[in-house]
């Protein structure tokens, strides 16, 4: 499995994904699922979850069309982000059909789901989820993130934190925490984690980094988050029946002693 997330805040876009792929528990490998395509007036990031061969066919075809002198459509030629997302959808459907027609007697699942995000100069940044069927949806101000793969474990923290006005770096930290929570709860999602940040109107990826469990920043982030969650539990309100009297007396006693002393 896989877990990838893309976040759209006012300041820009954040992309993050794990790198574990598995064709059964005895065939686990590390693959990059975060592909960056930077051109002069536009930049795209592609995240993928699903069949690895389909993914690689789609990425290869996208790159081939970029350089093809007679391509009628490519990420270079797309006028709007929506056109780019539909183009990725059509490439994906074609790749699946091509393999399916060669392998009609197999029941391998050829589907791949993509997230395409980025910005074309003069347009707003945008993120799109491209279904295996080739159609797509964008994020919304109410739900300014998109997830693919094992998305449930990491969704609550995104639901609680991510709003359009959240700062870009906070959104990036939230993506890392969301991935960390998923990796702890599901071994099909595994390190290292890839992260890419695209500030609005910069038209280039300002930060692209890979984090392994022992990468100092990521190790500190994990430790800090774990400690703070446990501390947060200590500060939650007590149940009515939880010895408020004793707690009160514990608090009062020093005061009384002080008053008596």
């Amino acid at each position: 499995m896989t877990y990838c997330v893309a976040i759209k805040v006012d300041d820009g876009l954040v992309f993050a994904g794990d790198t574990r792929t598995s064709a059964g528990v005895d065939d686990v490998r590390t693959y990059n699922k975060l592909h960056v395509i930077e051109l002069e007036d536009r930049v795209f990031v592609l995240l993928s979850a699903g069949n690895l061969a389909t993914t690689q066919a789609v990425v290869a075809n996208i790159r081939r069309d970029l350089d093809a002198p007679v391509a009628t459509m490519s990420l270079r030629l797309a006028r709007y982000m929506f056109d780019a997302a539909e183009y990725v959808g059509s490439i994906s459907v074609r790749a699946q059909h091509q393999i399916a027609s060669q392998a009609q007697f197999s029941n391998a699942d050829l589907r791949t789901t993509f997230i395409l995000g980025g910005q074309i100069r003069g347009e707003e940044p945008a993120i799109y989820l491209v279904y295996p069927e080739g159609n797509c949806i964008s994020s919304s101000p109410e739900t300014p993130f998109l997830q693919i793969g094992e998305s449930k474990y990491g969704k609550p923290i995104l639901d609680r934190v991510i709003r359009p006005e959240v700062q870009l770096e906070d959104a990036a930290r939230c993506a890392l925490v969301s991935l960390d929570s998923t990796m702890r709860s599901n071994i099909s999602v595994g390190p290292p984690i890839d992260l890419a940040i695209l500030p609005t109107d910069s038209l280039k990826i300002t930060h692209k980094q890979r984090f392994d469990l022992d990468t100092p920043f990521y190790a500190r982030l994990r430790e800090s988050w774990g400690h703070q969650l446990v501390a947060a539990f200590r500060n939650l309100p007590k149940f009515d029946w939880e010895a408020p009297a004793e707690q009160g007396s514990l608090l009062k006693e020093p005061n009384q002693q002080a008053a008596n002393g």
Copy 2:
């Protein structure tokens, strides 16, 4: 759908579940999924996720066996918690087979998964997950909780917090947070939430409470948790590129002024 969780810590057991059932989005109802059976030398709590008719048949049969003068097995007669869990499994399989034989042409999903927890005097408290197939697994010291239904959203917080040495009330708060996270992320899980607490060797449920969104304690818990998570994000380590110089100067300035003053 449903989400229920049972936690076993050294001090006792915690049970929590939502109350939403749905047979399609246009048939959503509220049902109790947390059933308590207190007898003189033992106490059980049953949580359920799955087909509601199967659940009700199982609960009805469990109660009938309790009062039957000639029952060969019942929760009253079980010697060990494992026997009690296997008994619930056998009742569940029988209920599913009975309906399936009457409805062979339907493709309704009759399966229900249960959690049975409790304590029999002289035995350790225990929690068991009873599969629709009738077999069961218990919790372990490494994983001292069991979940049924929509379990993924609420698992990360349990993975991070629940250890055998956690206090009973902290485990209860964690169960509520786990349910709250799930309800925010998935509308098939909904309030009110039922909570039951069984301290080790008490042989009775000391607290059983229903929390709705406007129950004061639960409202405070939700608010406190939300605020603390956002605060925790503010305290996470900064990325290397995040203006450490400026921050440093901000910190240094007052000191320098003090030194100069």
